[in-house]
């Protein structure tokens, strides 16, 4: 049987999602042995072919901030049967999207006072091309990636179970629950799958995996407002780029 053609691309980002994969060690290399690798610049030298390639699945990490990156993204779309947004930046704008809330004309002045630097609004990659599937998280969970990737290379679009972080959280229903302690944890409205890794390690959930599709977050936000100032809640929603998604949600 012919091996499926797979490619990994990295746009502007920390590349942490690629490292989450490499950190799987042998397990990830075993996956790579099952596919025909067209491009993955961290581990091979082959330049991305200029002509037609017909990739079965392309995984794209990061954001297209430079014009060249938008062009590359469009070429990837043309060549790929399935295009997957990998991680919080590609899927939801990520940490860099905070720039939009802070005001891009203001943020750039702290770095380059006089010079002209490419400074677009941060937009998720699905603003430029059609995205077939989103793998959530900042960073992605390597094991979860493998689970979905195995379906994707068979041409199937996986379904992600819409369950909240709380369903995986060791603090659920206990005195140690952040919400019980009046801390604005976003666990109840955020998509599970990370094993509630932040609450488990003593940090609030800031929603890096995105908002659940099958709930109305309005009621939850009202509850939060009972013990936290609206500005503080907004600040938390801005960290991983979910504020704009939530606003869209509330309007629809």
């Amino acid at each position: 049987m012919k091996k499926p053609k797979v490619a990994f691309f990295s746009l502007t980002s920390c590349e942490g999602c690629q490292f989450a994969l490499l950190d799987l060690g042998e397990k990830f290399f075993d996956f790579l042995r099952e596919v025909d690798l067209i491009d993955f610049s961290l581990i091979e030298e082959m330049p991305f072919p200029k002509g037609k390639v017909e990739i079965d699945v392309s995984f794209v990490e990061g954001l297209s901030i430079k014009k060249e990156e938008i062009d590359l993204l469009k070429k990837i779309r043309e060549e790929s049967k399935i295009l997957v947004a990998v991680g919080n930046c590609a899927a939801l704008g990520g940490i860099p999207e905070m720039k939009n809330y802070q005001g891009k004309e203001r943020t750039i002045r702290y770095i380059y006072k006089k010079l002209n630097v490419e400074n677009p609004e941060i937009k998720e990659i699905d603003n430029f091309v059609k995205v077939d599937f989103y793998i959530p998280g900042c960073p992605i969970n390597g094991e979860e990636f493998l689970k979905y990737a195995k379906e994707l290379i068979q041409g199937k679009i996986p379904e992600i179970l819409q369950k909240p972080i709380c369903s995986e959280c060791p603090h659920q229903g206990k005195e140690t629950c952040f919400l019980r302690k009046k801390e604005p944890c976003l666990g109840p409205i955020t998509l599970a799958g990370c094993g509630a890794i932040c609450p488990k390690n003593g940090q609030l959930c800031y929603g890096c995996r995105g908002i659940l599709k099958n709930i109305n977050p309005k009621g939850f936000l009202e509850t939060l407002k009972k013990f936290k100032k609206p500005e503080e809640i907004e600040d938390n929603l801005e960290i991983f780029g979910i504020k704009d998604d939530l606003e869209k949600f509330l309007k629809s």
Binding site: S10, E15, D23, N119, C198
Partner: protein, 425 residues
């Protein structure tokens, strides 16, 4: 003649190379150009709350998040005069040592080694170097496990915060790690043998080496002195007076020391603090000099030895981790709540990231919000040095075939282990 490598693979982040050389070897144009967009990490931090800073700066880089998190925490602690506990200091040192180990092993084995055997794909490397790749992966796995146990996660650790940790590791897990270290040390020794046998290209150029320094040990976490060449400066003098950020080539601010290029990272640390390496890693370093019949002076003129220096550091930091674990296990490891009082102030920190000295600077207001900040990464500091080395290399490879020329250029750039995500941020 023009030489262009539009996209250099196997480095952290995206970058390319362009040069124009005459037939006689005169370089008319030469650029190692970063290709990533500017995320404006410093800009977006303005006005944000202090506790968001470690979360945000971690995302500067997926391969070295630890020094960014710790750089931010310690700069803010310096600003606000927060004293952290002994358990916090030891666990931070362990976490940073682990990051240096897993970053170095990735670079040594998967990014740079294939260059010496003309291997174009790491899957092929795994086939050809079965024993060595198993050893490299085992060392990496152990370092990643340390990061997971102490930090909660390797890529973007969760637990370190301003003032300490949100959660302290279970002793049982630390004991398990300690038991695995002897095997990792054997593996590191095997890697050193592999990198000892490699034929390093002949190359000669003198440069300045910078790192933190204390004259007592092999420092990497929070120091007050930076040594560059034979000169020593306080870290704040070095940061604010001695070095200069060139704002003319966005999106990267290239850094120079009094107008000159300098080098950081493993080779610089071995140069400045080599006498304080652990006994066995020092011995390995001396064995290398003896077998190659070269002096220390000659070793440091050849930038390709950055690779061997990283191999030495893997062993060194494994042994350091072993000692740290023993010390940590003697402590009760109690949960603690840092107490922080806010006032208008500023703070700077300097520590060693895998690729060299990293500076974080913050100004903060009385409500704990960031007023101003600046982050100077190792790669931004050594970009200029890469170009200076390429200027020496280029005239020597003019007669080679194009494919061979590109291979030589790529391999020199990769020896630096540049991190473009850090350089651009």
């Amino acid at each position: 003649m023009k030489i262009a490598i539009p996209h250099i693979h196997k480095i952290e982040g995206e970058a390319g190379f362009w040069a124009k050389v005459t037939r006689t070897g005169k370089i008319e144009e030469l650029k190692f150009q970063t290709l990533l967009g500017l995320r404006q990490i410093e800009g977006i931090l303005i006005g944000r709350r202090y506790f968001e800073v470690p979360i945000v700066v971690s995302r500067i880089c997926g391969i070295c998040p630890v020094p960014h998190i710790l750089g931010a925490c310690t700069a803010l602690e310096n600003a606000l005069n927060v004293k952290v506990s002994e358990q916090t200091v030891l666990l931070r040192k362990l976490l940073l040592a682990a990051n240096i180990i897993y970053s170095h092993t990735l670079h040594l084995f998967f990014l740079s080694l294939p260059d010496f055997f003309n291997i174009e794909n790491d899957l092929e490397l795994l086939k050809k170097f079965k024993k060595e790749s198993k050893a490299a992966l085992r060392v990496r796995d152990l370092a990643l496990e340390i990061a997971k146990i102490v930090g909660g996660r390797a890529v973007h650790p969760i637990t370190p915060i301003v003032g300490g940790f949100t959660k302290f590791p279970e002793k049982e897990k630390l004991k398990e790690i300690l038991e695995k270290i002897p095997q990792a040390i054997d593996d590191a020794n095997l890697l050193i043998e592999t990198f000892k046998k490699i034929e390093y290209p002949e190359f000669e150029r003198e440069t300045l080496f910078a790192s933190v320094f204390n004259g007592k040990d092999y420092p990497y976490y929070l120091e007050k002195i930076v040594k560059i060449g034979e000169e020593k400066f306080t870290f704040s003098d070095f940061y604010s007076v001695q070095i200069e950020e060139d704002l003319k080539s966005p999106p990267v601010k290239r850094v120079k020391f009094k107008g000159k290029a300098y080098m950081l990272g493993a080779i610089a640390r071995v140069k400045n603090n080599g006498e304080f390496l652990t006994k066995s890693s020092r011995e390995k370093f001396e064995e290398f000099l003896k077998e190659r019949k070269i002096s220390e002076g000659e070793y440091f003129k050849n930038i390709f030895h950055n690779l061997f220096s990283q191999a030495i550091e893997v062993l060194h930091f494994l042994e350091v981790s072993q000692e740290l674990l023993k010390e940590i296990l003697k402590l009760p490891l109690k949960e603690e709540k840092p107490e922080i009082k806010f006032y208008s102030t500023s703070g700077l920190s300097a520590l060693e990231a895998p690729r060299g000295t990293l500076f974080h600077y913050y100004e903060i207001d009385k409500d704990g919000r960031i007023l101003n900040c600046n982050i100077i990464t190792p790669t931004a500091q050594f970009l200029h040095n890469i170009e200076e080395d390429l200027k020496v290399l280029l005239p020597k490879i003019l007669r080679l075939k194009r494919k061979e020329q590109i291979r030589k250029i790529r391999s020199l750039i990769r020896i630096y282990d540049p991190c473009i995500s850090c350089a651009t941020h």
